[in-house]
Symmetry: D2
Subunit: 307 residues, 4 copies
């Protein structure tokens, strides 16, 4: 049987499609924690076996979700808490995939000219890259400020460059040979409450454009040869998902059975050819703020003393 | 009984809430025409009496809607056709409200920093204003190039300026005493097919911010003292409207009666606190292109020989 | 005899054209102070009589110049010091021209689309305006957070709007009746060392566009009916000024007399028709940072507890 | 003896440092032509031997300069003429270095966030790349519209990415194996009259950042393994160059000998530590327009029937 909740890039939302005791997800564990005076909620979904991966439709690995309810409203202290927590979790994940990482490449995916898809380029713009400084000023400089060497690239999108962003990234990885890649991308969620309030990090890599309606070349250890950590923030909800959620709730309340419900929902969706997204009115502000938060977390990881 | 189609700024969509022979809209006329090899469709809705105004929830006046299906795709020839048709209809409307207009003020409403709401500022940026040139180069210059004197203002939004855009516009109108004001603003539609493909012009003025979730001071002959022509392009659909449309269609098909349907829909909407919008993925491109088209039409009206 | 140093908007540079004991500037006083661990230098030039005003070519009033050498390099702590000092001096000047100011209008002059001239619009974008909040939330809210009501406007430039920015501002002042206007604008300096490192505030008002090659309508108590405080940061040096400075220095060294020198310099300048500016390579960054600093100072004055 | 005219990226300006009969430049030829009703002037400087290369300080190859006096003023017809002429000359140069080129990579050098240096990224934004379309739609599509497959990349700058733009480009060239690279970059000229009015194309490659004060890794056949055509437009004049030009002219007029003159000029320059540029006031507009013109020429070369 297929999943019922609509498209999402968040493992934590996919997990909700299953009941606690569902046999198929025996190999999927969930851990909940709180950070920063309980203002930041962290769920860690771990897919540990092939059956869980099949059921969830995601590779084996860790999917960590930070959530802070007021984040989209732009309270500065909360944003700071999220950036710090994200930095901590990111460093931990980094250590687990590449304990001795000396060189990191950060790639910003998505389209600078399409606001809901601009998270990657916006974040990359705010990074305080260190690779060239360390090359110029030497090992002593690196040690003095406890830096990790990292560089950054906004790879553009196919329609702008004529190249898959994966092709560009693969080339640069081959030339630079970083120990690990961090890929930043906008995500799709099912719930509008997650827009701008949630950050997901995972050690399983990324599928460029997957979040917003395309399905392209994966970026992961198989394709790039080095571990890939993905960092994403939901900026859109598929319009069909909203419909599914609201209508589904209604039908359930009216006592319509699951199979019948699924049929009805599929029918309703079919009328809709265009890919449409639901975004909050302040999408520009949301993307700007989310990009800055992700960038700050990465800067805290690699060049805390320079910012 | 209330209207059933969800929120819209388009008179042509409001009209669809009524059957042809509804008594309440006896005073509402509709005329359909085609322009430019039938590529541009024009509907003119005229509200001629108080009963029609009450039923439609809009003031007495003309509401002209241009539609060109492929406009959002960015075919240049079609965009040109729309700009030319829009210029023609705009000039006609202008003549009808102010036959001897010598001085026009164009105001761009909305928020430059929020893409779906940026139509007004984007359009104003592309205008080739003439007022200062005519003041500097004199009457002869005006005659030589068959110019109409016009100037332009992006009034900003309350949260940016601390002033209602209406306050700013009213001040400038008092100082400059234009014969007519043209106000450009982003609109909300009910149908996602209208996003970026429809332009509405009306001689009844505008309600700043109405299109995107606010309800502010009207800009019309009563408040400004001069006729106000509004030009708008739908850039968003209220998420609740989509839900209403799709779920309504489903319920109707299942034979649920109108009253029951309305009750169900209201219930479904209530769960949703946030104001959410549905936009196409390429909203940045859509707004840019729509703003350029509106600006080109206005330039064609007032300074054709300078562009 | 005319001034010899080239065009500048800074009183402190104009003052350098005179020797200490020059009779004409008996009525011009200069005071030097240091703030913030001597990192911020403040000069106050006061023109107190008509003779001084004539000699300096500036109205009677106070011209306060802050200088912090590294400001253009973007050291965050220094930027903070400058913002705080600027806020302190601005509040003091404000009190001196309008002791009971309850309502302030901030206007950003200049062209958003021309980087060296964009200081005003950039600063206005960063303001946390309060007027609408106080109108909505009431007197209690104002008191609780110790706010001063202020609003803000980027008036655009003649070529974009067809209106003098002075016309727009005058209209809005008439409608809103603020107690005082603060006008932010980019300035021209003589010395390239001042680009992005100096802020001038004055209680004598402003001449829109004067700083960058235009001479328009003054904004001051006479034209607006309320006191006008101008805040400016040099972003350009006139290319002719550089030439004059360097060539003048050379000629003086070679023993060429003042009158002869002046003649030679005028000749050299005449060959140059275009208005050209000297800017540092990082002009975009400089303007962004200067705009943020000015905005932060204004926010500290009026809504310290909201930022 | 050293060159006397100041820094420039234009071969046509370097050529002016020598008299017609100078022995050192026997191997440097100049051809002058006019296009488009004599509105577009084209000079072709050819460096054909090692002595010429040494004297000119540039590699052996062709340096073609288009000039159209009013181009910076933005007359649309003239811009069109320049784009068409540029396309014609570019195609010819392309054929001469790679007669059977099937795949082209266009790289935009420079910093998107620093206006005078943004020519490359601005041009790349306006390209109608075809590589992905041909890969998707096949050989037939390519033939039908007479396309050449090309893709594009804005490589960013060292301070933003931590990587030399040359490193990024080299990686991508290795992966994609294009037949030829076209590199677009902002240039420095000696004469302010050339700002925005001149385009230089050359088959000798490019030195990223050379134009604006940096000296980095060359991009040419040796470093990339494929021919590199550079396209550039002057956007700045070094402030020292202006000084040199004006003061030099004055000194010459006063009868100061060449050697003495050079000594004086060097002295005057030494006082100036900072790298300062002279730009016209409307630098944003100039760069936007120049970038669009270059992009249009490239589009005309490779996908004329799609634009």
């Amino acid at each position: 049987m297929k999943q019922t909740g609509g498209r999402t890039d968040l493992a934590v939302e996919l997990r909700e499609d299953f009941s606690e005791d569902d046999e198929r997800i025996k190999g999927v564990t969930v851990k909940e924690e709180y950070y920063k005076h309980r203002l930041v909620h962290v769920s860690t979904v771990r897919i540990t076996d092939a059956s869980g991966a099949r059921a969830m439709g995601r590779p084996i690995g860790s999917y960590i979700t930070l959530e802070a309810k007021g984040l989209a409203e732009g309270e500065e202290r909360l944003r700071q808490f999220v950036a710090e927590t994200l930095a901590e979790l990111l460093l931990r994940l980094l250590k687990s995939v590449s304990p001795e990482a000396k060189e990191v490449l950060v790639v910003g995916l998505g389209n600078r000219e399409a606001t809901p898809d601009a998270l990657g380029p916006v974040a990359v713009d705010e990074l305080v890259v260190t690779r060239h400084l360390i090359l110029q000023l030497g090992e002593e400089f690196r040690k003095k400020y406890h830096l990790t060497s990292f560089c950054a690239l906004a790879a553009g999108v196919l329609a702008q460059t004529g190249m898959e962003s994966g092709e560009v990234i693969k080339s640069v990885v081959r030339e630079l040979k970083p120990d690990v890649v961090i890929a930043v991308d906008a995500l799709a969620a099912r719930s509008t409450k997650r827009l701008g309030t949630t950050v997901q990090i995972t050690d399983t890599g990324i599928y460029p454009g997957a979040g917003i309606g395309n399905n392209r070349q994966a970026l992961n250890k198989e394709t790039l040869g080095v571990p890939v950590i993905a960092v994403g923030v939901p900026t859109v909800v598929d319009a069909a998902t909203i419909l599914r959620e609201r209508m589904g709730a209604y039908l359930e309340k009216r006592g319509v059975g699951e199979e019948e419900r699924e049929k009805i929902l599929e029918e309703a969706e079919e009328e809709n050819g265009q890919v449409l997204f639901v975004t909050p009115k302040g999408i520009d502000e949301l993307v700007r703020r989310a990009g800055e938060t992700v960038a700050e977390a990465i800067n805290l990881c690699f060049c805390k003393e320079l910012i």
